[in-house]
Amino acid sequence: MRRAYLGLIRKEFIQVWRDPKMLGIIFAMPVVQLLLLGYAVNVDVKNITLDVYDFDRSRTSRELVSAMKAGDYFLPTEEAFVREATPVWDLDARFKDGSAEMALIISNGFSSGLARGDSVTVGVLADGADANSARTGLGYCAQIVNRYSRRVTGVSPPVEIRHRFLYNPEAESVNYMVPGIVATLLMMVTVMLTSMAIVRERETGTLEQLMVTPIKVHTLLLGKLTTFAILGLFEATLALTIGVLWFGIPFVGSPLLLFALAGLFLLTTLGMGMFFSTITSTQQQAMFLAWFFAIFAILTSGFFTPISNMPPLIQRITYLNPMRYFMSIIRGIMMKGAGLVDLLPEIGALIVFGAVIFSFSMIRFHKRVG
């Protein structure tokens, strides 16, 4: 049986090498995705275009405006000339055509009010179409105004929080995204290729031929799965290397642990690939189904947005998504140096899922073949 197993692996590799679409998936996809995502993905909100309407024109108001300009949060546009009596809602023409995302309105009595020790108000308008930018922009505004206010009035609240940030010192979103990309690549490649490879045997009719030989069903499966496990891990390594060498992302934890757990994750993805092969009859269907499933898994894994943001019902659904656990694992290991103990719940979940999906798919496959 060992000879059959090795023969199977060799055959699979030859077939992958000769198939342009599989090669495309293995090589083109990771490189393109990584480069694109690494550069395009940018959830940091910066350079918000800000219209400034300063009707006070005092030294204090100009200082406030300078404080807003400092750093790269805001990008003041040319100060628009508008009469003070203009109603606020007319200012939205600038929002409509996208020339400004926010506006700061400092009214006439700003500095005089402050000098008297009153509490004064500045108006801040935001284009809410991009909710995230608006919220973040308002947050920046609040911070800058508070700080300036403290400086000018000499008054500060009695209790403050001193914040300290762990991990990701440069607060680069790339560091957070690339591990996620590695996880998605690992999943997509293994699910797609495995399901396609198994279905292909059925398509060409060679499955029947194989069944007539002494090769046992599980040897056959193991041969295919081993091949794609190897390819999947190769993918992951390729992506990680690009990430670390090209994008300079950190790798704080243990690579060995990551690979071991990637192997565990592969149990679930290979199992899914096997499962899809039992419900499709052509390679194209298999590829498609795998893609569809992958999108769903990726979007609900915490890749783009934290799971805690999602409605409670969806959060509960994500517990069934193996990718969610691996996302935590890879980010934990790479960015925080998480160890075995820290990741026990995720590991446990992956073991359970892996065992269930894998055995279920195996049984289905046996039934389908026999």
Binding site: P20, K21, G24, M29, N42, V43, N47, V88, A93, K96, D97, G98, S119, V120, T121, V122, G123, V124, L125, A126, G128, A129, A131, L138, G139, C141, A142, Q143, N146, Y148, S149, T153, P157, P158, V159, E160, I161, R162, R164, F165, L166, N168, P169, A171, Y176, Q283, M287, W291, F292, I295, L299, F304, N309, M310, R331, G332, K336, A338, V341, P345
Partner: protein, 368 residues
């Protein structure tokens, strides 16, 4: 005209019988609308935060209550390990730890200055920034309520006002853009596959021996997809309004007009791709790589284009979705008119015209 009808009917049968196209046309839109409306949510809520209280005063307990009563924060499921507090961050059971040092309650009572410490998991930079600012907000509100002598209110207050989306719901941002993505998917992806399939199975050759003109074949094949794309777009819009409350402030006809231009551009891409490949599978892969991926990444659908490196920004000008995303958001959320959208509209029209030209030329030569 008569002949076109038969081709349209055949095409519709193909669509109904092919699992793939059914998935793209029905299942995908539903799933993506659902996901982007509900799951992909940049509103930071329910962040798990651990509070370690060394003060054990009534004030510290009240502060703890304030944090957990806020919609932004929620309780962790496990306590902090006193020997290794940061392990809770490493294992992602909590996103931040707030330490209330001894003397907090007393300082508060005496009006003295006091500092609290917070350690935040910085791996998700957005979340971390949000935690920082929300924690400040919770603290400030707490002080405003609790401190007996009246807290000196900072001299300058902000009066914020949000246009178009006062509750700052993510869905308003994503769902309109999703329409653009879905329409691209149907128009470009499906079209490239269907034409490639005819080539692959040899039925294209068969069709051409019949008294049908190539242009009629093309129109007949594309018509169903135009209809489906528009239909899907409308469905998602209705869904957006009814389920997510996304407003539609502007002119529907204007959107329809731009929508048709957009679909034409997408179809041209589909035709172009199918003229370059021999098999459906390769068509699908190329379509995914050149239409879907860039449309999602580089159109402003999720990530702001202006923050990207210049080369990518340049590439984004070649992507029809870039223009359409801006247009549909402008019309739906801001009620922008043709005058305001002229720039985007022009870009889209120019792009569409060039794509149509190239695709048309290629299709003719390949078929003849």
């Amino acid at each position: 005209m008569h002949r076109i009808r038969f081709i349209v009917r055949k095409e519709i049968l193909h669509i109904l019988r092919d699992v793939r196209s059914l998935i793209i046309v029905i299942a995908m839109p539903i799933m993506m609308t659902f996901l982007y409306g509900y799951a992909i949510n940049l509103d930071i809520e329910n962040v798990t935060i651990s509070i370690v209280d060394f003060d054990h005063s009534r004030e510290s307990r009240d502060l703890t209550g304030s944090f957990y009563n806020s919609p932004h924060f929620s309780r962790p499921k496990v306590p902090v390990d006193p020997l290794d507090p940061e392990s809770i961050l490493r294992s992602a059971r909590s996103s931040a730890i707030l330490y209330i040092k001894p003397g907090f309650g007393q300082a508060l009572g005496n009006g003295e200055e006091h500092t609290l410490g917070m350690t935040i998991d910085g791996s998700d930079a957005i979340l971390a920034a949000a935690v920082q600012s929300y924690s400040n907000v919770v603290l400030r509100d707490f002080l405003l309520e609790r401190v007996p002598h009246g807290v000196p209110v900072p001299g300058i207050m902000i009066s914020p006002r949000v246009f178009y989306n006062p509750d700052l719901k993510s869905a308003h941002f994503f769902v309109p853009g999703l329409v653009a993505i879905l329409m691209m998917m149907i128009s470009a992806l499906l079209t490239s596959i269907t034409i490639a399939k005819e080539k692959e199975t040899g039925t294209m050759e068969q069709l051409l021996t019949a008294p049908v003109r190539p242009s009629e074949i093309l129109v007949g094949k594309l018509l169903p997809y135009i209809l489906i794309a528009l239909l899907d777009g409308i469905l998602v819009l209705v869904f957006a309004k009814v389920v997510f409350g996304v407003p539609f402030v502007g002119a529907p006809l204007l959107l329809l007009g731009f929508g048709l231009v957009y679909v034409a551009a997408a179809l041209s891409i589909g035709i172009l791709i199918s003229s370059l490949v021999a098999t459906q599978q390769v068509a699908m892969m190329i379509a995914l790589l050149t239409t879907m991926l860039p449309s999602v990444m580089l159109s402003g659908f999720i990530f702001a284009v202006k923050n990207m490196p210049v080369p990518l920004q340049a590439v984004s000008y070649l992507i029809p979705a870039r223009y359409f995303v801006a247009i549909i958001r402008g019309i739906m959320l801001k009620g922008a008119g043709a005058d305001v959208l002229a720039v985007h509209g022009l870009g889209l029209v120019v792009l569409m015209a060039s794509l149509l030209l190239v695709a048309g030329r290629r299709f003719k030569t390949r078929v003849d």
